[in-house]
Amino acid sequence: MQLITAVTRPATFESIKEALALFGVRGMTVSQVARPSSGSAHIHVYRGLKYTIDTEPSLKIELIASNGEVPDLMHVISKILSVSDPDDGVLWSSSVDILARVRTGEYGLDAL
């Protein structure tokens, strides 16, 4: 099993969700994170004082897939990222040792 992680602009999330649904994949975890801004830092002005904000909000999407499915899923997601977020989108997978599926009580290497 592998944990696939993608970090991308929030607007990309819909495309990724729809594409994964075509594969029958619905379960994923989404968190709100920040990344350094693409392009130059943004200047905010409040009451005449300048503030530099050089991070922008992003989404981290994580899903667990069996080894057999990982190449296809990563291929699909990377295609979407190359269109929607070519400069800053990132995608990687890491290995998962044990999965405990709470609903069915399964536990172990194959509990996907």
């Binding site: 200047i43 905010h44 002005v45 409040y46 009451r47 005449g48 004082l49 300048k50 503030y51």
Partner: protein, 470 residues
Amino acid sequence: MIPYPPWLNAGDNAWQLAAATLVGLMSIPGIAVLYGGIVQKKWVVNTMLMAFTGFSLVLLVWVLWGYNMGFGKPAHLGPGVLSNFIGVPGTLLGAGTQGQAHIPLLDGGMPDFRFSQATLSYFQFVFAGITPLLFLGSVIGRINFKVWLIFVPLWSTLAYSVNAFLLWGGGWWAQAPRGALDYSGGYVIHLAAGTSGFVAAAVIGPRLARDRARAVPNNLPMAAVGAGILWLGWNGFNGGDPYFAGADASTAVLNTNLATATALLTWLLMDMFFSSQRKPTFLGAVNGMICGLVGITPAAGFVNGFGALLIGLITSAVVWLSWNKLARTRLFQQVDDTLGVVHTHGIAGLTGGLLVGLLADPNVVEYINKDGSPFSSAGLFYGNPKQLAVQAGAALTVIVWDALITFLILKFLSLFMPLRMSDEDLEIGDVAAHEEEAYPDEGLVSSPGGVGRPAAGAPAHRADAEPGAG
């Protein structure tokens, strides 16, 4: 058979009470949420609580002794001005407040009031009540809350009552041959707040350097609510000050809105053309709005529409310059006036108060005297050059007296308690001072129902766990 005395005019009484309510709303919740939305998130509760408590403290002081010190019989403390700068303290707790309103030194000099003493004293209270809330803006983010609770009654008694008596209670500056003009408190309220706030900010010291560098607002829509209440509430602020629900009240309301709209747009355009970022900003527009409201306050019922337009334009431009240029000088960088009250209230009030010395139009009638003659005022552009000098003198008095009183009160209090919160508490903010925060996150609460109260159905547990532990 009308069920109230013949001197009472229901229209005057109704408008005076409505105007007073509008001004009260400007404090609660107006200033509370305007400031609450503009300050950084960790000081929201502290700011709003100082607004609510400041307002309440002034009301107590007002009915116990303050009103009569501002509007009562003069205290004869010496010759000349010393007999005409403060009234004899007295309470407003009896049923006598149902009687006809009187300001002793103005009796006979202007038409009799046609509402009760309770109406007049409540109306004057809401002005006294908002003034500390304005200079609250200067000391946000470090003043010790206990100091606030004691400072407000002392300042209201010693500074505000004097300002009010001198200019509105028939005191020295109002009397002939001076005749200083302050329609609704450009000096009594705004110059006073700006001066006192600046001095207090200097004496108490600045916020943490980190806070000063990261002071972004937390809720602009809430600030918009506060700003809107201020703008329209000012219809009561200026519309109620002629004391008669007559034509001058209408003039004051129209002038107020005209000056405000002009000032807002002036600041906006100056941001678009002259600021370093060249962008129109919402908070800039709100600043402009406030400058217009403050600038027209000493002048609303004395000037004509053109005068109001000029006041809006000039006051906004002057304060824009002071906000963006003067604020960068060493003195202003050292003194941490958190919300810039010295600019938007101090300098704006001074500018408006001087402009009325130029622009007061004798064709704008304040009221009709008992003998049928109209009462009005004239400024330099209408052939009365003395008015400008009088306005300057009155301004100087307010600045010097208020600065001195603020300084002395704070130095006195510093003998008994620290003026600032501890650095530890300053790092934490609201939770350290009040154990509340503006936007608590229920997901982070670890013991449901708080310490000592077990969740429904759960076994009782010992109530000695610390809040937030685990």
